[in-house]
Symmetry: C2
Subunit: 355 residues, 2 copies
DNA sequence: ATGAAAGCGCTAACAC
DNA sequence: GTGTTAGCGCTTTCAT
């Protein structure tokens, strides 16, 4: 019955000192302080029901022994839990790691926001094709809510999680028929602003680099199309270069475009790293950026400001993102209905688009 | 006595459906399956002590209801725990967030390594002046081990944690009298290689940009000094520009160096972002990189390859780092004595040092 | 093959 | 003000 009989047995002489010391618990403190566990519990929780002197004595003792209440036991008893799961999907096919600077920046921002509010953050990866497995930590009572970085292609699974009442916030784009809560940048606006900026600079044959299967990218693509339409330009379907968020693939696709004789004078890329691949591909043909081809990025990662050339890019408010995501999740935990938010984005103009 | 009396009371008619549904537990599955909780427990753990048919029935039922064993309760009962704390210190003074790309990259790498081995990762921030508070999660039984990203200036506190038997691995440099386990790059080698490379390129007045209070930086500085000495150059004490890992401060310090009339033809910086600040400061005086001043970075973050100019930098093996750190921690959990590791680093030569 | 019951470390209602 | 005791959701010994 005892899961670890040896632990509660009378300590074997030698074992006590070097073998893994039994973890201190409340009963030990109680014994050493000469009071009952209830008193210790009360003292440590600062209850006024305990004699002030006893209280300080117990608290001092605990501190001196580095004793801290076992949080697992406390949580079980109190039915409380202040842990949030943060899930970064990964592409199982390419076995791509969590490495996109933007995603990592969001993770950092979430860590800050959660810590500030006294929540703990359980960080995990999940196969992007099985986003619903992100609910496991919730089902197991491990966490009280889930944050997923990116929608990927499984809107349906996310809806499924929400339908199951899993408190959930997704960094991504708002979709029709969406049951879950999203927080994200204004993707349509971002795509539109970047494209319009290129059009204002006189560009007419503008490629779009990204995979519109992803809702966020789809909105950016629509913004791009709207800007073209507004300028009276009919989009050539070959202008859509449908690549994942993976650098090598993007480079190959661009090289291929050149080989096929596709002619263009600008590229709207869906991340800064993708934009830099475009720059490299353009230069590999002897053309110049921005003189011959203008390029815009997306995210405004730190590298965008320092790259060669510095990238004109759509700035996403990472720090604010963390705060808003956490806010949206906590609101749900308080019983409020999920309310999605779209944050304004801002085009930052640098050398990759202006001579 | 019941911490949440309402929960166990007979469900109020309406409450059942829309008010936050009570979380499913084993007793519910047992009732629905018409067996006892013991049987459910056995079935879900795949025990052969339970009738094969009953087992599948129970398992199916649980799956269909998205029931998962409450991990907190299970952990408490089994005295097990597969969670590791990953702690990213922050500078309380500057209230600097977790944002250094290198630290975030390590976090990503750790997430991968831990997930692969079936461990969960609790990510948190801690004031760099109170590194020992990183032990709290361990004291509370929340995690079985702690990983701290960076040594900062509190070697003593880390030793304290180790003395308290907290299973611990620190990303950083090996120090004399060190009780805890470190995994890190070869900092002396990195500083030496970078400096030697500059010397081979004919540079003679080489600044060092970084704060040698930090053990990692101290080793890099020693490598730098050794390279100078080997070349028969006496280091000018003014060549040490003692700045934290903070971009604005680095820029100010460099501008100041120029104002003071300090003359130099190369800079060894302790991060890629610091190196880019050096480039900016040099260019602001009308000088060119690398023609007038060569600059080396450290870490080889993604941005180093794409920056203007691309940075010669010391590559740190981030992916391998995650694996090794986790490995070192797990070895300790198995009772092996802490064994520190130093990983080779490699100078990557790019345009910032060669015309 | 199954169930009853004890107990993991803690809190709080209840008794004194 | 303090101690006794039941029970949070689970696993496992023991009995059947």
């Amino acid at each position: 019955m005892k899961p670890a009989a040896a632990r509660t047995a009378e300590p074997v002489a030698a074992a006590a000192q070097d073998r893994e010391r039994r973890r201190l618990q409340m009963a030990d403190i109680a014994r050493l302080a000469g009071v009952s566990v209830s008193t210790v519990s009360r003292a440590l929780s600062g209850s006024t029901l305990v004699n002030a002197e006893t209280r300080t004595r117990v608290v001092e003792l605990a501190k001196s022994l580095n004793y801290t209440i076992n949080q697992g036991a406390q949580n079980l008893r109190l039915q409380k839990n202040r842990t949030i799961a943060v899930v970064v999907p990964y592409d199982a096919a390419s076995r791509q790691h969590i490495s996109d600077p933007f995603f990592l920046a969001i993770v950092g921002s979430l860590a800050d926001a959660l810590t500030d509010l006294g929540y703990e953050m359980l960080l995990s990866r999940v196969d992007a094709e099985k986003l619903d497995s992100a609910g496991a930590a919730y089902d197991a009572g491990r966490v009280v809510g889930v944050i997923i970085i990116g929608q990927w292609r499984h809107h349906d699974q996310l809806n499924g999680l929400a339908a199951r009442q899993v408190p959930l916030v997704v960094w991504g784009a708002e979709m029709p028929q969406q049951l879950y809560c999203t927080v994200g940048g204004d993707n349509h606006g971002g795509g539109y602003q970047a494209t319009r900026h290129l059009l204002m600079g006189g560009r007419r044959r503008i490629l779009f680099l990204g995979n519109p299967d992803l809702p966020e990218v789809r909105w950016r693509y629509r913004g791009y199309l709207d800007a073209l339409k507004e300028a009276g330009i009919e989009a050539d379907p070959r202008w859509l270069l449908d690549v994942p968020f993976e650098e090598a693939a993007a480079r190959r696709r661009l090289d291929q475009a050149y080989q096929e004789g596709l002619s263009f004078d600008a590229v709207v890329a869906c991340s800064d790293l993708l934009a830099l691949q475009a720059v490299a591909a353009v230069r590999a043909t002897g053309r110049r950026v921005p003189a011959d081809v203008s390029v815009t990025g997306y995210d405004d990662a730190p590298l965008a400001a320092w790259s060669d050339p510095p990238l004109t890019t759509v700035h996403q408010p990472v720090d604010e993102a963390g705060r808003l995501i956490v806010e949206a999740l906590l609101a749900q935990l308080e019983g409020q209905p999920p309310r999605s938010r779209t944050m304004p984005v801002q085009l930052v103009v640098r050398k990759s688009t202006v001579g």
